[in-house]
């Protein structure tokens, strides 16, 4: 199985969730993260002192799927997350050796 990790812009979460739903993906996990990359940060001013904040709020979406579905999930997320602007994010594909559903103890593909 594969874990698809996508670092995306926060306001894209709902679109991606729906796009994934449409291709039958009904489970995912979200984390609020901060990203550093090409996208420029912003300036902040507090009593005359200026700071540049480079780390930009992003969301990481993680979806674990069977190998065959991985490519489709990657494509779906890419399409839904794309705005064409710098900072749209990255998708990483990572191998997963096993999955367990805590409730039932099921393992492997039927656990996701």
């Amino acid at each position: 199985m594969k874990k698809i990790e996508a670092i995306i812009k926060p306001f894209k979460v709902d679109d991606i969730k729906e796009a994934l739903n449409e291709i039958g993906i009904k489970g995912m996990t979200l984390t609020e993260v901060k990203g550093y990359g090409r996208q420029k940060g912003h300036k902040e001013i507090y009593r005359g002192a200026e700071y540049v904040v480079d780390f930009i709020p992003k969301v990481r979406i993680e979806v674990v799927v069977e190998d065959e579905q991985a490519e489709q999930v990657v494509g779906t997320i890419r399409d839904a997350a794309n705005t064409g602007k710098i900072g749209d994010g990255k998708i990483f594909v990572i191998p997963v050796e096993d999955v367990v559903r805590v409730r039932t103890g099921e393992r492997g593909p039927e656990a996701v």
């Binding site: 306001f11 709902d14 912003h42 300036k43 902040e44 001013i45 507090y46 904040v53």
Partner: protein, 405 residues
């Protein structure tokens, strides 16, 4: 001079001023966290801007001797010349400058109320221009009509104890125009725009409630029986508004909410504002209770009409203020404030209240629209899309509300 009256009016002035930071957090908690400072700033900076205007020309426009026709005050008090520690024309027991201070606090909070309508999307420069123009062209005149020496609505006998028409109807009507002119926030109707900090909002409502005693009971301009009754009915109407709003919610949507309780309290406070010196405890239960249900209905309906009055200024201040103005014409009883309303046989008063309300609404709608047109042409009303995504805090103020780890 009466030191008791002065003591009370000093406190009442302070309490009304305190309402504006209270409003700032009431509104601030309701927006998304990326806009919390932008929203708070609206109210906060108005405390500064309007204070300066008031000294320079505001007080005289509102309370200077009538220029004729009851429409505007004359220039006598320009730069507050002649407004000092002595008795003035509006009270025999407190210094003129104290009356002027008390009224300043009302002039501050009224434009601040409107800001809820355009929250989360207005440019700061445009907001400033709008506020200055609106306060000058709408608030000062309407204030004169009702409370100014020779103002036409006051002369006609319109009752507005503490500002149902001057403040709430007036700002509610302006809010409607603002919501329509600015258009919806990006994502309105699809994204979830949950309040980001309800404890802040609820405590803000508590501050408003506290300050409102100064607002309503202070409008007696004296520490007397009228002020005492005004304070009491204020408490009861606020409480009843809170209870009835959550009952309505409970029945209609299945759950009583904390935000509903706070909103209902504000609705009750708004509605009792014009009536405070003219009605008694039992009427205040009705006025507050109806306000709770009515304003709840108004915010539900808004969702269906689809304009984006972000923080429900129309639904709460507009609708609540209108109900209060009319209710004053219904429930006023001679024993409390010297005037009877419809229910005590004086149908005329009800008609007068209606005229006052309609006049204020019409004037406010039209002038607000004109002002927005001008401001839009000069500054542009809205931040651009990228800035709206980022939030007002970063885009307008280069600040971030929270860094809690």
């Amino acid at each position: 001079m009466n030191s008791g009256d002065i003591a009370w009016m000093l406190c009442a002035s302070a309490m009304v001023l305190f309402m504006t930071p209270g409003l700032a957090i009431f509104y601030g908690g309701l927006v998304r966290s990326k806009n919390v400072l932008g929203t708070i700033m609206h109210s906060f900076i108005i405390m500064g801007v309007v204070s300066i205007m008031w000294v320079l020309y505001g007080y005289t426009m509102a309370f200077g001797p009538d220029l004729g026709g009851g429409l505007l005050g004359g220039a006598k008090y320009l730069g507050l010349s002649g407004v000092g520690a002595d008795i003035g024309p509006y009270s025999d027991t407190i210094p003129h400058i104290l009356f002027c201070a008390f009224q300043l606090m009302f002039a501050v909070i009224t434009p601040a109320l409107i800001t809820g309508a355009f929250a989360e999307r207005m440019k700061f420069s445009a907001f400033l221009a709008f506020t200055i123009l609106w306060t000058t062209l709408v608030y000062f005149p309407v204030c004169h009509w009702v409370w100014g020496d020779g103002g036409w609505l006051g002369a006609m006998g319109a009752l507005d104890f503490a500002g149902g028409t001057v403040i709430h109807i007036n700002s509610g009507a302006a809010a409607l125009v603002c919501a329509l002119f600015l258009g919806k926030r990006k994502g309105y109707g699809t994204d979830q725009m949950h309040p980001h900090n309800l404890p802040l909002t609820i405590f803000g409502a508590g501050v408003l409630w506290f300050g409102w005693f100064g607002f309503n009971a202070g409008s007696a301009l004296a520490a007397d029986g009228t002020a005492s009754m005004a304070l009491f009915v204020t408490q009861v109407a606020a409480g009843t508004g809170a209870v009835l709003w959550i009952i309505a919610e409970w029945i209609y949507q299945g759950k009583p909410t904390t935000l509903g309780a706070a909103s209902g309290a504000v609705a009750g406070l708004v509605a009792i504002t014009p009536a405070a010196g003219f009605v008694g405890p039992v009427a205040s239960i009705i006025i507050g209770g109806v306000a709770g249900v009515l304003c709840y209905g108004a915010v539900v309906v808004k969702g269906k009409l689809g304009y984006d009055d972000a923080l429900d200024v129309v639904g709460i201040h507009g609708v609540g203020g209108l109900w209060g103005a009319l209710a004053t014409g219904l429930f006023a009883a001679e024993v409390y404030g010297g005037v009877n309303g419809l229910f005590y046989g004086n149908a005329n008063q009800f008609v007068i209240q209606g005229i006052g309300a309609v006049a204020a609404i019409a004037y406010s709608l039209i002038l607000t629209a004109i002002i927005l047109k001008i401001v839009d042409a000069v500054f542009g009303l809205r931040v651009d899309d990228e800035e709206e995504h980022q939030g007002l805090d970063v885009s307008q103020h280069s600040e971030v509300g929270y860094r809690i780890v």
